[in-house]
Homo-oligomer: 135 residues x 2
């Protein structure tokens, strides 16, 4: 049983490591947000840079405190509805630090019983490949 | 103990899920290869498409059987040396299926005691952002 536990732990660590390596290897900007509490629980350096934050400042922070929606209503709620819609579109936000306009492309999924949003972050000026984003 | 085990299992599943969601959400093409046996253990749809394979065909397959190096020598060995060099450069390969020339950008890391290569795959014609890839 001890060996089995160690093996489980190693497998878990391996997934954790792969996840972190992939987060930093991709040149796109990504954040993971818990729908239940609205907090960012993972963000890569690319996302932190676009939000004008340090990566360690982002973790466990409310999404609402790093950016605000340009439209009306609750940001996490809007992202959730977009992610669940048939043809999701980007949600425009402004970085709380310096007002930079950014677009969030949401995907929703369930992990360990909690609904999670994966947000791809793009600057407004970056137009490449926006069309094929949410297919 | 049972509850703790279930919790561990849930945490592991959560990482696994996040990893898989991220693999498919990124618009870049990625493969994970075990250095010890040279097999691809994860590839996203983008990587499979560039290799002219189905994604399920890639898993547990030898990297050597889906692509061949354009230069001399052993492919996994070459990727490993590049990943460990101070200024890594891309390794050119040809897809085994149709000879398409592709570039592999390697990163090396250790997970669960096994050395692993993360390969970002780019078509030769795609020149955007190649310079800042391996910083």
């Amino acid at each position: 049983a001890q060996l089995a536990l160690e093996k489980d732990f190693e497998t878990q660590r391996a997934y954790d490591t792969r996840f972190r390596v992939l987060m930093e290897a991709t040149r796109e900007a990504f954040m993971f947000v818990s729908v239940s509490n609205g907090r960012i629980f993972e963000a890569n350096t690319g996302a932190a840079t676009l939000m004008s934050c340090r990566r360690d400042e982002m973790t466990e922070t409310l999404l609402d405190s790093v950016c605000r929606p340009r439209g009306k209503g609750d940001l996490v709620g809007t992202l959730k509805s977009e992610a669940q819609s048939e043809a999701p579109s980007a949600v425009e936000v402004e970085s709380a630090k310096d007002g930079t306009v950014l677009r969030l492309f949401p995907t929703i999924f369930r992990a360990a019983g909690d609904r999670t949003l994966l947000l791809r972050v793009e600057p407004m000026t970056d137009t490449r490949g926006t069309q094929d984003t949410l297919t």
